[in-house]
Subunit: 269 residues, 2 copies
């Protein structure tokens, strides 16, 4: 493979993204900060995991966070209050029936939401209606098809596919990360800029191995065990082998990689 | 997926690696530069594709480039001379029978070589013998298992697997990139630091789409067509569908991702 003759853009600086292997929070969110006084809508805040980071990185912005689940909204409200932030207001609402005036937000933030929606482009189009001309939408999604690990394991890959298939049956798409560019384009944002964020964990980065390989990714796949077995997607023994093999990638000679995709689209003036 | 509680390292700056989507040459090589007067061994220079970049980025270093193929060495010599560099000397030699004194180089550079070797750890151990204590080895490899694209295509994935299987039958490993950390550790380098380099190409980056998606990756897979069919790995029609589907990812709504891995290991003093 000879990549020597590919030319295009300019990035002499900045090889250190993965080199320094920040916390995942920094990797995903450190370049999102909204100006003082700007009105930001977080659509699909869930239990507020990203809301805390949003509020911290944009302390002078006025953040409105909504979720379709009232239970989640209540938990998000408690989490953000416990963290001491006062620049967020919460509301239970469906993305397809938001109680806001058109063009009432300067910016939109949508993290780990599109993966659960059957009509992601329609959702993006609806959200665009609440955005002022010239405003931006920031979308972050993972992509389970990007998981890549050592030692490789067919059982582990099949266990991951169980999660992908269950999410598909629920109307979602666990491999949506790679599609953010066309999705935002189809929704009419222009320009759209996507930057992948690769999480790389080997034993020289023990916090990532423990925090991401074991406690985030492997725990998430292990969490679909019962649903996968009930759906007949995999035999119990094979699934458990897959989980053991994912844990094996967290051993001293193991490696685990996963890519998140972050897109920023602009609404034309 | 809630990655909010992973903690570890610090990379506030430097999200712009993929954002700026440099040329692949910059992505892979811009952070490799050797000091004036240092002696660098490039093991497995092939036809000199990387040698030109090495010579350009380290104009005051004395580079010795070897390859097992005399034909390749002759072409590399012509390429480097035509580019106007005089700081490289060439020699035909087998990595397992190098004509150098022990500990005679300050640094080693090995790019797209281990993927072709049946005993990569043994090769790294042999090379370490020619390195001065405190010197570094830089290793760069791709990983075909990291390829991830939209629209996804089973035929394209199977065509890629043909290349992986053919390389395996030839004694190599087209998915070696993810293994660099354990391989260098097993060879006795310490510390070892790996940084993945993800190439992301959507239609906002037309030079990468053309230069990487079409002319580097898809062309490489298309190049194993005859061997794959002769080996009975895939039917002709399915293989051609796979190649069409890879070209499809270069259309305006397509996306293609591939990850290279770069490792730097140090020989203990």
């Amino acid at each position: 493979m000879n990549p020597a003759y590919v030319h295009g853009y300019d990035t002499r600086e900045s090889i250190r993204l993965q080199d320094q292997a920040a916390t995942l929070v920094e990797l995903l969110h450190s370049d999102t900060a909204y100006p003082a006084g700007s009105c930001v809508l977080e659509a699909g805040c869930g239990v507020g995991a990203q809301t805390v980071t949003l509020a911290r990185n944009s302390p002078q912005a006025l953040i409105t966070s909504v979720d379709i689940s009232a239970v989640s909204v209540a938990e998000a409200r408690r989490t953000v209050a416990a963290a001491g932030f006062t620049n967020v207001q919460f509301q239970q609402a469906d993305i397809f029936a938001l109680p806001f005036a058109p063009a009432s937000f300067d910016h939109l933030f949508v993290c780990f939401v599109l993966e659960h929606l059957a009509r992601p482009v329609a959702a993006l189009q609806v959200l665009k209606g609440f955005l002022k001309p010239g405003g931006t939408i920031t979308v972050i999604e993972g992509d389970h098809g990007s998981a890549c690990f050592h030692p490789d394991s067919a059982a582990a890959r099949t266990a991951i596919q169980c999660q992908v298939e269950l999410q598909r049956r629920a109307g979602g798409n666990a491999m949506i990360g790679r599609e953010l560019y066309p999705l935002l384009q189809q929704a009419g944002f222009n320009p759209v800029h996507v930057s992948p964020r690769l999480v790389y964990a080997d034993s020289s980065r023990p916090a990532l191995v423990d925090g991401f390989t074991r406690k985030t990714f492997t725990a998430m796949i292990a969490g679909v065990r019962d649903a996968a077995l009930q759906a007949g997607l995999m035999e119990s023994q094979a699934f458990e082998q897959g989980i053991r093999d994912l844990h094996r990638t967290a051993e001293p000679d193991g490696v685990f990689c996963y890519t998140f995709f972050k897109a920023v689209g602009t609404k034309a003036r």
